[in-house]
Symmetry: none
Subunit: 224 residues, 2 copies
């Protein structure tokens, strides 16, 4: 399961450098060249956002403020401004970390990983009950309906896991494919659709009414 980063910086060199570095680390990378673009792309739901503070069209702080209510992922500022007051402003805008250029890539990577790990720790409960008698045991990778385990294949389970962990959030088929397969693919949407069909079939067979809803033209979501 791969994480998606959104990197927003107006300087092409930095953007490319970060993209290639995190790409090599196994992350999916989305790029934005400016603040407005960052806001738009952020709605695709990255797992973490790296935001340059000084961008010409829309200030990073401003981007952060306008996103804060809409997306819940960690937002890390990158900046050359070193003053305390600047840092405090960054946090006040809703940022989760403030990294001063020039930064070392290893430290940046460690911080990114730490924030992602924290996100995961939040949701790392062994067992979660969902409406309708469905219970998912994430550590055992098992879904049960009224005590009886539902036999799922790997991809089916992973899709259920992804959607259920973010219950209520809409994922389009490409996003699901990228998260689970860790790469982009052309026939991705058909593959995902097929697995969702199987998954629904097995859940229905077990007697549960499927918690996976189709949002026409947008994707799937786990009923919350």
């Amino acid at each position: 399961m791969s994480y998606t980063l959104l990197i927003a910086d107006d300087e092409r060199d930095i953007r490319d450098m970060l993209a290639s570095y995190f790409g090599k680390c196994g992350y999916e990378v989305l790029l934005a060249e400016g603040g407005r673009e960052a806001v738009r792309i952020a709605l695709r739901g990255p797992d973490l956002i790296l935001l340059d503070v000084g961008m010409p069209d829309m200030d990073g702080l401003e981007v952060c403020r306008s996103l804060r209510d809409a997306v819940s992922c960690p937002i890390l500022f990158l900046t050359a401004r070193i003053e305390d007051a600047d840092k405090v402003n960054g946090f006040a805008a809703g940022g989760d970390d403030y990294i001063v250029k020039p930064f070392s890539l290893s430290e940046l990577a460690a911080r990114v990983a730490a924030h992602l790990r924290r996100e995961e720790r939040q949701t790392a409960k062994a067992e979660v009950k969902f409406a309708g008698g469905l219970v998912i045991n994430y550590s055992a990778a098992e879904i049960a309906y009224r005590g009886a385990p539902v036999p799922l294949t790997r991809q089916e389970y992973r899709i259920a896991e992804l959607l259920s962990l973010h219950a209520g959030r809409v994922f389009d088929k490409e996003a699901i494919y990228e998260k689970i397969w860790g790469r982009e693919g052309e026939g991705s949407s058909a593959v995902v659709a097929e697995h969702v069909r199987k998954l629904r079939g097995k859940l229905a067979e077990a007697g549960a009414d499927s918690p996976i809803e189709t949002i026409w033209g947008l994707g799937y979501k786990w009923r919350s």
Copy 2:
């Protein structure tokens, strides 16, 4: 609701200074003079832990490792060690932040607040409320009026999303078309107008008075 911090440092001056500062900020403060004591007190479940790396009886990293599975709160390292490798070690040990001495109190306070805020955000839904009882949940791609979701099609939702994110700004029809369809088109204005009509219709049907205003000769805007 006041948060409880655990501050672990073997130097009495620093401990007292931090305790008094965060005490004034309204936090409950627990103090530990060494690593072993920190582990013991941490089990009382503070909301956040400030951990000195260099303590005589038990290294901060060690403390962190032994706590990580037991407590899920953020752990912030305080240290004079500035090397990248040290920082990376800190994060690898399960730390959530790494703050180099001498640090400014305002920055430290901002970081503490950011980590606590993040904990809280986990439970909060990502929703934005607009005037007139309209609520948009961007991650669920859903618009609700007085709790009842308004069934929108893809393009309708996207237009609402675009306009609401930049409430108050006027978009002409070509601009909307380019943002959403990602290309230029000739009949674009008619297409957009049609979708806006449908969108208004559905919002009106749900009972909400449409937040989309027509600026004659210029385009549309979301009432702010």
